[in-house]
Each structure stands twice: as structure tokens, then as C-alpha cells.
Amino acid sequence: MNPDYRPYHPKWHRTPIPIFWWVRKRAYLKFTARELTSLFVAYSAVLLMVHVRAAGGSEEAYERFISWLQSPLVVALHVVVFIALLCHTVTWLNLAPKAMVIRLGGRRLPDAAIVLGHYAAWLSVSGLLAWVLVGT
């Protein structure tokens, strides 16, 4: 007998949510990993700001900052950050067609075309930046 049960009153059971719900399914794990990459995006944004600030400061401080960047541990960290950023970008761009429906001449543009368009835009902007930074 369930002591909490009273006739004609529903006694619902609610399954508690486990803390590790996100390992229950591969898809959840992938999702969690994808969400975590945004921490790296935040990190690189902060890094960029620090970099700009250092560039605006004394030459000595800038040197210190650059040598910090060149230390093996930091380089290793930034390789990881770079990979995470790539993952973040790729998954983000791949999801783009879910949110965008583009019509051309009455026909709906296929998902692949939208993804390709995003990649093209990404590569163009990256190329332009590379040209500005390295080429000039």
C-alpha cells in the first residue's frame, strides 16, 4: 500500500532528473560539447581585447604579452582553443539551414546550398582578414 495515496486523487510519479542527464544519450553529449565550445569563443574574444590593450600599452608590456603567447603551454592551449573554435564554427554553420528558408524564383533553396553559402562567406571574410593582416 502507498500511504500517500488517497482515493480519487491522482498520485503522480515524477522521475527526478539525474545530474548527468547529458551523458544519457550520444546526441545530448554532442550537444553539451557543442555548447561548451562557446566558452572558448568567449575566451578568444577576451584574448583579442587583451591583445588590443597590450598593443596600445608600453612596448615592454607588449613584448611580455607576446612572449607569454609564445610559451609552449599557451601555444598548446591555443591549439585546443583553435580546434574548439573550428568545431563551434562548423556546427554553427551546419545548423544554419534549420533557421533560414531562402526562396529563389519560387523554389526553396536546398539545405546544402545554404550551408555552402555560409562556408563561402566564412572563407571570403577569413581570406580578406588574412590579406589585410598578412598581405599588407
Binding site: R6, P7, Y8, H9, P10, K11
Partner: protein, 584 residues
Amino acid sequence: MPEYRTHEHDVLVIGGGGAGLRAAIAAAETAPALSVAVVSKVYPMRSHTVAAEGGAAAVIKPSDSLDDHAYDTISGGDWLCDQDAVEAFVREAPQEMLRLEYWGCPWSREPDGSVAVRSFGGMKTERTWFAADKTGFHMLHTLFQTSLKYQTITRYDEWFVTALLVDDGRCVGAVAIELATGQVQAVLARAVILTTGGCGKVFPFTTNASIKTGDGMALAYRAGVPLKDMEFVQYHPTGLPFTGILITEATRSEGGWLLNKDGYRYLQDYDLGTPEPHPVLRSMELGPRDRLSQAFVKEAALGRTIATKHGDVVHLDIRHLGAKVIETKLPFVRELCLKYEHLDPVKELIPVRPVVHYLMGGVHTDIRGATPMEGLFAAGETACVSINGANRLGSNSLTEILVFGARAGTAAAEYAAASRPASRSSVIAQVADEARRLRERFLDKSGGRERLATLRTEMQQAMEEGAGIYRDEAGLVAAAETIQVVKDRFPDVRLDDRSLTFNTELVTCLELANMLDVAETIIHSARAREESRGAHERTDYPARDDDRFLAHSLAWYSPNGPPRIEYLPVTITRWPPAERVYGG
């Protein structure tokens, strides 16, 4: 804790499928001051309207006419339709369909944006509106979602009605079990509408969902309202073997062929026309359902069908329609074949056999949806107006739930507005009695040996053997005896489940009691009708007999013994009985 609770409304709708929701909306619109209750044993969107595939007929194209729709319906029904009802039906069909369009139903369209129509069995022109091949699904969800906007409609979902409340010959509500708690609930109302659908589960092999157990028919019948034309059971010619899943008639209206084991379009041998490569209206595969199902049985007797583990089949061939037509017009058929038969109809033949699909008969109502009992109305498959006569044409039933759902809703609201409220004190004793009956006969009962599933299976087998596509006196007598035996054993049933919370076994048990009553009326009505007409085919009386049987049967409940069968003349307005001619 009281054993039961009571609720008061003005109009009570029992059943939340297409007819019930249409009736509720009509009642709410007719009299916005009235409160409308919808009691349903399942959430409305689970109702079996959801499974209808092909479409809904209504005259919309300039080339069509109301008289043509009426004539097709009346000849399709083998002149057993009430012609005044058919005329009202075809007249109101277009506006009902348009109203559904205004509520958002995603009808398939022509390139210019107008509603598209397709041909259908027994119809001489294209007049069937469709939403690909999930028409019933879209209609039900449109009605359900639209019903949410009416503040005066209160829903009681997952309540199973066990009895009508009758006070001095007037229906004033119903008693139900609230499944989630097991509590008995009385809903009092000034007018009650039955829209509980059909009773396909009386038979073992049916397209019908498990919930189609003739509840409304049995409720009305036991309350003293006659059931009309119960002998007319429609077999749909194309169901998948084993599952009984319906393969819509639209497969044939789009151009599908029925082939016997030799790949021969055998319908040409049964007075249904000559085979043409393209579909010809009212001919061959586009003949009416009764004739096609009967042809199957004859073909099987000649040994020209294909034997399988799950019974004889013929083949439905839609390969020549091509992948594009199948994907745009029949995507659900393809999905069902892939899922349930592991075959792709674009490349392979679909095995099909006749399957119990629809009951033409039902609770006797007049043209407004009113039953002979004051305050009680009915619509949809539960009811028999009758517009379907001895054989319903495909795509008339989805339209019927709209036209007669709306009519019953309007009539009930008008009746409720003009009548006095039900007297609470006079029916409360009935509620207490019903609560006690349910407890004593099922939940608190000791002993009992019979298993529900055994009794149900025996009933279903008896119905298939005695009251199937072809019937005769000996078979009907045997079926009647078996049903009586099962009925006698029923009180000895033993439930495993004695709990209050969501007792599905109790529901199944009460459904079986309903089905046994309905089965009995089918058999006795069939036995009394000594002629062949439409879906009722007697091998011992192969001809139609207009002198004796151009009449509706009425089965009246009698507490001890079989139902009393009486007859009511058919209303003929403009189309005198004639021979049914198909095949051009």
C-alpha cells in the same frame, strides 16, 4: 470522500472525434450563452477520424451538380437512403467544407490556388476534397485546434461514459468514469449529443482503431432508442493483411488496379465494366465498396486469389502511377506499405483483402440529428440519418460528420436554450446506482472465471463467420447463438485489475458489454432482412426485394431476449428505386 461528483452544462457532447467537435462548435456558435461539455474516452486528437485517408465529398466545381452528388449517393446506397436527408446533405456539404477551409484545413490545391478534387468510388465526377492522403487527420486536428478558441466549450478528456441519465423519457446527461482517478462523474445537461463513432471492433479484422466499440450505439440502445439499419456493415476492399490497415480508395481513383493471382483485372468479370488503362468513373476499380468486396469473395472461391499466412489476398498495383504521383498524392500509403509490409508500392504490388471498415447503421435520428428520445441527439458513424443507405460511398462519411455534426449541434443548442434545466434530484439516484453497479459488478466482485480476451475473440469470430460479406439463415442463427452464449458468460468475467487509477481493463470490459449488444442488433437485423441490398448480401435471398424491404430496420432493446425488429419506410423524393448500374 463522495463516490461521485456532478457537473452541470447545457449541452453535453459524448465523443470528441470529428462529429463531436463539429457539434460542439456548432452548439457554441448557435448559442454563445450556453455551456458545452465534450466528454471523450480519449483525447480528441486520438479519435478515429484521424485515420481517414482519402477525402471528403462536396460539390464545388462548376461542372458538378448537387443532383449528381445526390444520385450517386442514393444509387450507391441501393435506394435505402432517405432522400430528403441526402438532399440536405449534398446542399450543405460545400458550405461545411468551406467553413473547415476557413478554419485552416490544409486542403490540397490546384495551381491557381483553388481547392483540388479527386475522383472516388461510385462517384460520377471528381468531387472529393482531400489533404493528400491524411484527410481525416487534418480535419480532426483542424477541428480540435479550432475548438480551443471557444471559451464556452469545456472538455472532459479520458472520461468513459457508462450510462445515459434519463428523466421521464428525456435524456438529461450521462454518467462517466474519470479514468485518471477512477471517480464516477455525472454530467447533467439539457441536451445530449452522441458522437462516439462506429463499432468495427465487433469484428476480428477491421481498419478501425481499438477504441471503436459502439459505445454510443449501446448507450442509446439500452436507454430505449432504436438502432437503425444495423445489418449494413461495410467491408473496404483494400486493407493490408494481418494489421487491417486501410489502403485508401484514392489509390484506385488515382489509377490503381486490382489484380488476381494471374495479374488479371478480375473486376471485369463481375459486372463492373471493362478495363481501361486510365480510371473510368463508376467503373471497375472505381465501383462501390460493397460490389468490390463481394467480387473478392467470389474470386477467392474460384481459387484465383493468393494465399498468405494472414488469409487470401489480391494485389493492388499502383506502380504505373509513378513515384511522383505516389509521393504527392499518396505519401501516407507509401509510408504505411514501407512500415507495415516492408514493400515499396512504387516498385511492388500491395497485398490487400476486404476488411471491416464502416457501419452504415446506427442510432436512429431524423434529419436534424434528433433521436426519438427527447433531448438526445446523435451524429456521425454512431448515428443513422440515413444518408448512406445500404452502402456508403467513400468520402461521404467525412462530409457527413461535418454536415450532421453541425446539424445535431445546432438542434441540441436550440433545444437546450428552450428547455428547462434537468432536475438534479430526480437523476441523482441513478448516478448512485450506476456507481454502485460498477463497483459491485466489476471492482469489488469476488470469483469469476472468464477472461475478457477469450470472450471478445469468440464474439469477433462469430461475427465474421455469420455476419460477414455473405450471409445466410444458418450462419446468422449460429452467430446469434454464439453471441447469446458469450452474453450469458459475460457476468462471470473476472478482472485482474481492481484499482481505481486508470483502469484500462475495466474500460475494455465495459466496451465488450457494449459490443455484445451492438453485435446482437447486427445479427438480428441481418437475419430479419430476407433480401440482398448493398452491403447486406444473403446467399439464400440473392435479390433485392423492394416490396418487403424498401425500409429501414429498427432494432429495439428488450431486456430479456433478442432485439425486436421493426421497419420504417424509406423517404423517396425524386429518385424512384432503380437498378444499380456500374461500368458505364
